[in-house]
């Protein structure tokens, strides 16, 4: 709590000059022109946010809640929802656990009566918890759910996180071309919706690019020793190791693959796309290739502004993709409330579905007719402990 308050004060301190600078036509987040200032909103609009703030997935959940705090502080400071209207967020911890995500969603929707929900963090949690929001007619927006079929759960389910099916084919195509791959080995978690759907898309993309899969191996969530799988896979001498894993397992896999003597590229899904993975795996991360919805090196002006605000608010911490998507998600939700000029769940849903060409740190953002995000992804490679844009590096050469 103390940290939150402290962060809030920092944000406010930072925003003061930003607001004054508006006169100088600095690009400002939000549909200020496109939608009129709302007049029909109550004094407090309460939304919920379900993030995994404990457990293995807290790597994501903590940066997500920090990003939402930042966005909400900005939205309230700038009076985006009109003078005197405060956007409030009630957080609930899903702990990476399906049951707890269900409990959190039930509490937010049925007890707290929130008008909309951000989260939950993991796709597996979303599949368990989102039907509750759908039944109650409360819009829910995943800001990190990338598994296939999330929005098929119903017309109240949105996401602003590019699904693996949109990111992975581009990653494989670019990597295959850049590294002239012909044979790879695949390692994936087979007890998690996110890692399984990532695996399916990888296999499809590899086939489409005529890359042969020499061997496959699986692991379970919470595993820490991957030496058995890696010994088997690396015994086939693959040109690249393709992994579909969440951050905690991915870190171990990267480190143990390097210990096992593997020096080639490691191509991963969205779970690897976190500075924490690079920091925790150290030198072993060199050559890790990940497709992503967002990169810290993105040239977008709003992205740069977001990074500055985030670093200022959180003791120089660098935001990751999960923070960028959560931040964008909170702004999208506020935009739906502003443009619909209503704090009713149904109106927010309708207005959310109409958002097109919203300038954000992720680039020009739109929802398609299935409430999935549309924006351009980037392919990145880990060099010297940070992600660089793979395309950019290639043009430099």
């Amino acid at each position: 709590m103390v940290r939150r308050v402290f962060a809030l004060i920092l944000v406010l301190a930072l925003l003061a000059p930003a607001v004054m600078a508006q006169d100088e036509e600095v690009l400002q987040m939000g549909f200020w022109e496109e939608c009129e200032d709302p007049a029909g909103l109550p004094e407090t609009v309460t939304i919920g946010a379900i993030f995994a703030q404990s457990g293995a997935a807290s790597v994501y959940g903590i940066s997500q809640s920090q990003a939402v705090d930042l966005a909400v502080a900005e939205i309230n400071e700038l009076a985006y929802l009109g003078e005197g209207v405060t956007l409030e967020v009630i957080y609930a911890d899903s702990a990476g656990d399906k049951e707890q995500a269900i409990a959190a969603m039930t509490k937010l929707v049925e007890e707290d009566g929130v008008v909309a929900v951000l989260g939950p963090t993991l796709s597996s949690e979303a599949f368990s918890a989102d039907p509750i929001a759908q039944e109650n007619g409360v819009p829910v927006m995943g800001v990190s759910n990338t598994a296939a079929g999330i929005t098929d759960m119903g017309d109240f389910v949105f996401r602003d996180s590019l699904p693996e099916s949109a990111v992975i084919p581009g990653t494989i195509a670019q990597a295959t071309e850049a590294l002239s791959l012909t044979q790879v080995a695949v390692l994936y978690g087979n007890d998690d919706d996110f890692t399984i759907s990532g695996y399916d898309v990888f296999v499809e993309a590899l086939e489409a690019n005529y890359v042969e899969i020499l061997a496959e191996a699986t692991f379970a969530k919470g595993d820490v020793d991957f030496s058995a799988q890696l010994t088997t896979l690396l015994g086939t001498n693959p040109e690249a190791l393709v992994i579909s894993a969440l951050a905690a397992e991915a870190t171990q896999i990267i480190v143990q693959a390097r210990q096992a003597g593997y020096t080639g590229p490691i191509i991963g899904g969205n779970g690897l796309n976190s500075p924490a993975v690079l920091t925790n795996s150290g030198e072993a991360s060199e050559g890790v290739i990940v497709g992503a919805a967002w990169n810290i090196a993105s040239p977008e002006a709003l992205s740069t502004a977001f990074i500055e605000a985030y670093s200022a608010a959180y003791e120089d911490a660098k935001p990751d993709q999960f923070a960028a998507q959560a931040y964008t998600g909170a702004w999208l939700m506020a935009t739906a409330i502003r443009c619909g000029d209503s704090a009713e769940s149904l109106a927010i849903r309708d207005s959310l579905a109409e958002i097109v060409d919203f300038p954000s740190p992720l680039g020009m953002f739109s929802f398609d007719e299935d409430r999935n995000p549309v924006h351009t992804p980037v392919v990145q490679i880990a060099t010297g402990g940070a992600f660089a844009v793979l395309g950019a590096e290639m043009t430099e050469e």
């Binding site: 293995a56 820490v224 088997t232 171990q252 210990q259 096992a260 030198e283």
Partner: protein, 299 residues
């Protein structure tokens, strides 16, 4: 063939950690006749102490390791005073002591989670890399990471020391006497309470060492790593023979080997089916476990 030996090395080093962990279970069980289900939490505190000593207090590994063991030993002794002794005094059945150890385990994990939040702002943290040289040793076609050899030697060494303590020293003699019959031991003038405290300390120190080694191999520490080994350790002592020191280590290595090879061959999904299937079959044929002895000659 190289792959086979590489997998064998993988299994042996993992098995050494399991075995070391299972030793603590076995020791407490053979002396008190009670399963200490908080032992997995003690394992976790060992890793946690080691992490804090190295990462926050900047102590060298060689100093931090024994300190972490002592710390875990003291936590284990505290368990004896909080979760076991009061119940034993009131003549509570063993099942109550078992349940109270589960409670103590949850308490320990929650306290550590709180400390983690304050120290690391999350629920997991990493040991700094390079504490142990991680340049692999090349041996023929094999690549051996040094830490994996170190844990194997450390685990076997501690097993030998423990065996010597139990069979050659006076305190070991007292432990065996108490294990045989508490009342008779007390009549013979043995301070039973002190034997219990010593047993818990040794068990905790071994569990802490296992936790510390686990942290050094996998670098990652969280309040929940105990659950990774809790069931495995129980399986190891049942497989090896309840109350047998050598059996605990053998059981640990066997479980690790079954896990490693079934993962290598069939994928991780079948790993636990293989482990528990074999445990079940073995218990049908040999209920006392591989190296287990009839009750009267335990320890």
């Amino acid at each position: 063939m190289d792959t086979f030996f590489q997998q064998l090395i993988n299994a042996l080093s993992l098995g050494a950690i399991y075995g070391l962990f299972a030793l603590g279970y076995a020791l407490v069980f053979s002396v008190l006749g009670v399963l200490n289900l908080a032992h997995s939490a003690v394992f976790m505190t060992g890793a946690f102490f080691g992490l804090v000593l190295i990462d926050k207090l900047q102590l060298p590994l060689i100093v931090a390791f024994p300190l972490a063991m002592i710390g875990a030993g003291l936590v284990s002794v505290a368990l004896e005073f909080i979760a076991f002794r009061p119940l034993r005094r009131r003549g509570a059945p063993r099942i109550s002591q078992l349940i109270s150890s589960i409670g103590a385990s949850i308490l320990l994990v929650s306290i550590t989670q709180l400390l983690f939040q304050n120290l690391y702002g999350g629920t997991d943290a990493y040991f700094p890399r390079g504490l142990v040289p991680d340049e692999p040793i090349l041996l023929g076609g094999l690549r051996i990471v040094p830490i994996r050899v170190i844990i194997l030697i450390a685990a076997l060494g501690m097993m030998v020391i423990l065996q010597a303590v139990v069979s050659r020293t006076q305190i070991g003699q007292h432990m065996r006497a108490v294990a045989f019959n508490q009342r008779v031991a007390a009549l013979l003038g043995i301070n039973v309470g002190r034997v219990f405290v010593t047993t818990f300390f040794i068990a905790g120190a071994l569990g802490g060492a296992a936790g510390m080694l686990y942290g050094l191999v996998f670098l990652n520490v969280s309040p929940f790593i105990g659950s990774d080994v809790a069931l495995v350790g129980l399986t190891a002592i049942v497989l090896g023979g309840l109350g047998s020191i050598n059996g605990a280590v053998l059981g640990g290595i066997l479980v690790a080997a079954l896990q490693t090879f079934s993962t290598a061959i069939g994928g991780s999904s079948y790993r636990n089916i293989v482990v528990f299937g074999i445990l079940f079959l073995l218990l049908l044929v040999r209920p006392q476990g591989l190296l287990g002895q009839p009750d009267s000659t335990r320890t």
